[in-house]
Symmetry: C2
Subunit: 496 residues, 2 copies
């Protein structure tokens, strides 16, 4: 007894590492369907596939996540036999910069590529927060033209519609980092620490509102907990451009543009950013992408420090219930922007680049929420085993069904208890069971059973005799098996 | 200058870790097409998708590769924040055993699952030998019936034909470990070390031939280098069953079976193995899988120690030229077998299992060898930029083409040098270039150019004027752009 216990404790635990999960049947199939729909759009836009390995040198990855300062923070890393550090990729952009640098003499220029696959983050897992998740990216490297950014925004719009998000249920929102820099310039703040504080305060706009931002940029503010938060100490005149920026979104693009213009004043970089935004708007308009699909939104900032120009985000605008039962907008499923410095790390030369990343899991969740992902995987027809000495007969039926393109299998468990065969068929969501006993065999007949209908007619059937008495079951000629099964599947799909 | 050099040396190297590689455009697309063809067959056979994470606990993986004795040998492993060891999966079978153990109460029984994805091996890389590669597996867990093995063999045959291997160009070869154990029993050898030596010698059959095996099992043998290799020391009577086994393959299944019968003598386990082989043959025959697709081949041993019953292998029988220009058979692209002990590690209960793994990269190589993977990825139509102030006009054409389902893009590099635009189109294998200068625009016309035809007509074209003079280029009405481009693409595809 004691020995037995000890043996048990030596057995490995059957669980994945924390923060990792498995995906079964429908989950995998649904994601694959969505990825192939996305691929189709990316391909139509002229983007080529690229698949890099899961593992890169830590050196090539840049040793840290783009928005994390400490080395090795956030990545899974280990040393190779020759002591060189290697790590699992944390996104698809860092490997792209490596590939472009390595093969830039052979690749077309500009290089449009798409990539999809898992990325890994060594972060504390939480509910719905995993350490391995899918990304689906498209980037254009080597195109300085703002047309490349506009193209990605159009593509994002087409992609969302291709996977089943209806027009009106999403918006592609565009902004430009240069406008933000122009606003900073307009404040007249030149001290870098002060600049960073202004940006941090702008990021708090969602939480503290316009009055809160005003106080935080000025003398300071009493927060909800009663603590006094020191302000940045700007004058009212310095604060004005920031407030103008934060409230610049107008009822249409041209009013937003004109508001932004007054926010950036005479700043060259700011005016450049605004003219880029206008250009994006013009190109998208030319392609037929109007205000119902794309808009300028000054609140789009995108966290990553490496963006240098246009930034964009796809937001789903319909509401869902959150964990607390409150209605809220579904929110962002994709984002990206222009990053002109990432390749420079390798080559020393600045290479213009712009690209987008789709959060595959969030987009799938949205489609499920909208009920656009139903019944992708149909259960197989189950050929039951009535007589274990006649497996070859059953095997022949299964082969005929499969050759006709019908998903089918012979029951492979212990055939003794017929009830177990039916329970198995139920668990597999089988549409049809095929039954051939000795009598049927002798007379060239088989029984086929509409299992969905059967389930509705009877909650619990244990014996073959009861089973046969159900009207959902019909007797057919053995040689009409394929056509009769096909009819029954079609009928059962119609009934759903 | 010196400073510059130092700066340069600080730049990261743009290369992947050794033994890892990138896959571009066509490679990725071809593999995806093949994987979806395989998936379709697996699905039709009733198998459900499963995707496990890339990372498992070292405990769950079993700490070592199935055919390697030393811990951590062959896997990429590292310690998590809580010091627990985790590792990249080295195959898709170990994670399946973990999943089945974890979810066995919820999964259907038997559980048929397929999985595809990369696996990682921490081995010394070599030419064509990578440390990350694709596998594509199908397994049935919880089915003791030999019908499950027969089903996998049929499925393997259907899968090869589905991806484009013609009947006659492959054979699914089946053997049974129990027959091998029966042969060992028939020798009368009971000492475990001696048994292992006999098995090792059987594995050398390919190299040393029947006479060599005879000597090595007996007194010993002078090898090619002149060294004397000690023999296992069996008597002639003990050696006889091994020789009978190695030469048992007959001109048809029943003669092979009868030869095997004499090799195993009275061994119960051997006779059981033979009757399992007969059963597989019978079931496959019933499904229509004859000797042109499946055969019993006693030389199939499969390296992994964990196989306990039927083992199978898919061999491509056509010849290719090897690196030295010699003709040789393409060989194995897939293998598997029955392994009844893998789940037991976790649960303590023996669970019957059988499954197959397809070497995706080798199968792709075979299809390329046979020329069955041509032109899967077509280049995009390139809308050239003649006038950089009219990007919106070009963008509009691109959007029209894309909305019509035609792969298309606007040239996004610097448009100044028109020759570069044509070079880009060439690099992208574009079928058609669209050209609209100011004159054309004014007259509602555009030029479209058959690039493949153009390339044949002229090796080097640098200026727009020369370009226009080529007969491969035609002037069309702007509002017939879609239909004319479609016609030109169809013509160019016909010409190939």
């Amino acid at each position: 007894m004691a020995k037995d216990k000890k043996k048990k404790s030596l057995r490995p635990k059957a669980i994945p590492p924390k923060g990792f999960r498995d995906y079964f049947g429908t989950d995998v199939a649904e994601r694959n369907v969505m990825l192939s729909q996305i691929t189709e759009v990316y391909h139509r836009y002229g983007f080529d596939a690229l698949e890099t390995p899961a593992v890169e040198t830590v050196e090539a990855l840049g040793k840290f996540l783009p928005d994390v300062e400490r080395p090795n923070e956030g990545v899974f890393a280990w040393q190779d036999d020759d002591d060189a550090w290697m790590a699992l990729r944390y996104d698809l952009t860092a490997p792209l910069a490596r590939v472009y640098s390595q093969f830039r003499n052979d690749l077309p220029s500009p290089y449009r590529r798409y990539a999809m696959g898992p990325v890994w983050r060594n972060e504390k897992p939480g509910p719905g927060r995993y350490r391995q998740f899918y990304q689906c990216d498209a980037d254009t490297i080597g195109a300085p033209s703002i047309a490349a950014d506009a193209e990605i925004c159009s593509m994002l719009s087409d992609t969302l519609e291709a996977v089943g998000i209806l027009r009106g249920d999403y918006l592609v929102k565009v902004n430009n980092r240069k406008v933000l820099n122009g606003v900073l310039e307009a404040t007249g703040v030149s001290d870098d620490i002060k600049k960073a504080n202004v940006l941090r305060t702008i990021d708090k706009f969602d939480k503290v509102g316009i009055e809160g931002v005003k106080q935080l940029l000025g003398a300071g503010r009493l927060d909800a907990s009663g603590a006094y938060i020191d302000g940045v100490g700007l004058s009212e005149m310095q604060i004005a451009p920031v407030l103008a920026f934060l409230t610049s979104k107008g009822f249409d693009a041209s009013s937003t543009i004109s508001n932004l213009r007054s926010a950036v004043g005479n700043s060259d970089i700011g005016l450049q950013g605004i003219s880029e935004l206008e250009m994006i708007g013009e190109l998208m308009e030319a392609g037929g992408y109007g205000a119902d699909r794309v808009e300028i939104d000054p609140s789009v900032v995108r966290g990553l420090a490496y963006y240098t120009g246009p930034v964009y985000e796809a937001e789903l605008t319909f509401e869902i219930l959150n964990e607390k039962g409150q209605r809220r907008q579904f929110g962002s499923v994709s984002g990206g922007g222009r990053y002109d410095d990432l390749v420079k790390r390798f080559t020393g030369q600045e290479v213009p680049a712009t690209g987008v990343s789709i959060g595959v899991d969030r987009l799938l969740a949205a489609l499920r929420e909208k009920g656009r992902m139903n019944n992708l995987v149909k259960g197989p027809v189950i050929v039951t085993v009535m007589d274990r000495d006649r497996l070859a007969d059953y095997q022949q039926m299964v082969s005929e069904l499969r050759n006709a393109g019908i998903r089918a299998e012979m029951y492979m468990g212990n055939p003794k208890n017929f009830g177990n065969q039916l329970k198995y068929a139920d668990k597999r969501s089988s549409p049809v069971a095929v039954i051939e006993g000795g009598d049927e065999k002798a007379n060239g007949l088989v029984q086929i059973k509409d299992l969905a209908l059967g389930a509705r007619l009877s909650a619990k059937i244990e014996t073959t005799e009861e089973w046969k008495s159900q009207p959902a079951q019909i007797e057919i000629k053995r040689d009409s098996l394929i056509s009769e099964v096909r009819k029954m599947i079609a009928r059962s799909e119609d009934a759903m």
